[in-house]
């Protein structure tokens, strides 16, 4: 038995992506910057991939920059907007408390460099309120950065509304769409997105490859200096096999999107329904405004790492936001941001379903989790105190 239920961490590469990559590695070894035919053919392959990626999000090919992944794209977008803002005396950035560390740590660094950062509340349901974005904008605000969908609890943000507000107030708007690009339909024009980050390994493409969409005319500075690749915005010979694999994976994901979204939503809701039967448990984040495959729960009285290890023994790969899985003393900042207290956040479980998962998988997961939770509660001193009434239940 082997059930991979951690698609938010990464996904298995699709056959289409593997085929595209191996063909590229065998046949297109040229350097896209070389003028002879082998180089120019590689250049054509590169630009075809750019067109494919751009068309998926309603962008122009020249607005797509290939990067080493989501983290790099986040860093580059945020730094570019911040630096341009600083030149105009604007040093305020708005973001949210539950962004990925690629965003939060970049903002931390900018804070040390003199920027002021407002992290918006994401409330109990894990959804930012557009009116709070609007209210936080000041004359000196140079950037709003809000993720498209959260990686831990899967909640989808009101990106279109936020985009409209930013456009009206003439503030640059970036969204980390690493979890959303692929599974969700995105239109950077209609949604008024200025920058968008995406990563291939989340949609069955290769690791270490991603892209940044930057609307034409927005500030964009290179993080890596050197050659003139990517219109001087990202030096270094292009990772052509990775880029080609990403484009193939993205095209396939988009072709399957509507059917997969419907199928996964059903599986997700069945999984949520099944896990809700566990007493003193709770779903994390909004039940409806969430990614089709995301299920995130907290179980009172148990700790997440031991839960994961026991599920692994039963053939289920999942993840948790407990402190002991992160190697720090604090549980996930995402769970804390939606108001889960430490005691409860330690007992979190994230199951993210994807292309290979079946209804049988879901039934197996439900019974395995029920089993393991009750086993761990059986010798948990915390559970004992809750049951005896010594401490009150939170969930």
């Amino acid at each position: 038995m082997n059930i991979y239920a951690d698609h938010a961490a990464t996904t298995a590469m699709s056959e289409a992506a593997i085929d595209a990559m191996t063909r590229c590695m065998r046949e297109e070894y040229g350097n896209p910057s070389s003028l002879y035919k082998i180089g120019q053919r590689a250049k054509e392959v590169l630009e075809q991939a750019r067109e494919d990626v751009a068309s998926v999000i309603g962008a122009e090919p020249r607005e797509v920059y290939f990067t080493s992944g989501g983290s790099e794209a986040d860093n580059q977008a945020i730094r570019s907007a911040a630096l341009a803002g600083k030149k105009k005396g604007k040093n305020h950035i708005i973001s949210t408390a539950f962004e990925h560390h690629a965003v939060l740590h970049t903002l931390e660094q900018l804070k040390a460099e003199g920027f002021e950062v407002t992290l918006l509340d994401v409330h109990e349901n894990g959804v930012v309120r557009p009116e709070e974005v609007e209210a936080a904008i000041r004359p000196e605000t140079c950037l709003v950065t809000v993720m498209y969908a959260n990686n831990e609890i899967g909640t989808i943000q009101p990106i279109r509304e936020i985009g409209a507000i930013c456009r009206a107030r003439q503030v640059l708007f970036h969204t980390d769409a690493v979890q959303a690009a692929g599974p969700l339909a995105i239109d950077v024009q209609a949604e008024n997105i200025d920058y968008l980050s995406a990563s291939a390994h989340k949609f069955h493409g290769p690791k270490g490859t991603g892209f940044l969409y930057a609307r034409k005319g927005v500030p964009l500075i290179p993080l890596i200096n050197g050659g003139a690749q990517e219109k001087n915005r990202r030096a270094g010979t292009e990772n052509l096999p990775g880029i080609v694999g990403m484009a193939a994976a993205l095209k396939e994901t988009v072709a399957l999107r509507d059917a997969e979204a419907a199928r996964l939503t059903k599986l997700r809701d069945r999984l949520i329904e099944g896990l809700k039967e566990i007493p003193h448990s709770a779903l994390n984040g909004d039940a409806e405004k969430r990614l089709p495959g995301n299920v995130s729960f907290c179980f009172e009285g148990i700790e997440g790492e031991s839960l994961l290890l026991l599920l692994d023994e039963k053939g289920i790969s999942a993840s948790s936001g407990s402190a002991c899985t992160s190697g720090s003393l604090d549980p996930s900042h995402v769970l804390l941001a939606i108001g889960r207290v430490h005691d409860v956040a330690h007992g979190s479980l994230r199951l993210t379903l994807g292309r290979e998962n079946t209804p049988e998988d879901v039934e197996y997961i439900i019974s395995a989790v029920k089993n393991v939770v009750s086993y761990l509660r059986g010798f948990s001193p915390v559970w004992r105190d809750l049951q005896s009434g010594k401490t009150p239940f939170i969930l």
Partner: protein, 131 residues
């Protein structure tokens, strides 16, 4: 390489001496839910020897395996030996732990020492009462 050694996984998957001693002579509880691991040790002591020991743990693989190993190491041992139990010895008996997991295993040593404190406190109280 796996996160944990085979020994750790063995103790984690098949923890020894799990449970409660209702009429324990000593109970030690350490850790808190805020930091993520809580351990509770129950001892039955006769003639200064640990006759029986049980534990309950809320925590990660490292915490559960260390509790289990520590109970094996003190069962049947005189208190003079038990009080010298160290986290290092527990960790070594488990064939090591990842560096960032040591802090969870320290609780086993602390829980046992806390139980011993409880034992001596109770004993001095009964001695006083019988004075």
């Amino acid at each position: 390489m796996a996160l944990y050694s085979e020994k750790v996984m063995d103790h984690f998957l098949h923890p020894r001496n799990v449970g409660v001693i209702e009429d324990a002579d000593a109970v030690g509880e350490v850790g808190n839910a805020k930091c993520g691991d809580i351990m509770k040790m129950y001892l039955k002591i006769k003639d200064d020897i640990v006759e029986d020991v049980r534990f309950e743990t809320f925590g990660c693989g490292s915490a559960i395996a260390s509790s289990s190993m520590a109970t094996e190491m003190i069962k049947g041992k005189p208190l003079s030996e038990v009080k010298n139990l160290t986290n290092k010895a527990v960790t070594e008996a488990l064939d090591g732990l990842p560096a960032h997991k040591i802090h969870c295993s320290v609780l086993a040593e602390e829980a046992i020492h806390s139980a011993l404190d409880d034992y001596y406190r109770r004993r001095s109280e009964t001695e006083k009462a019988s004075d």
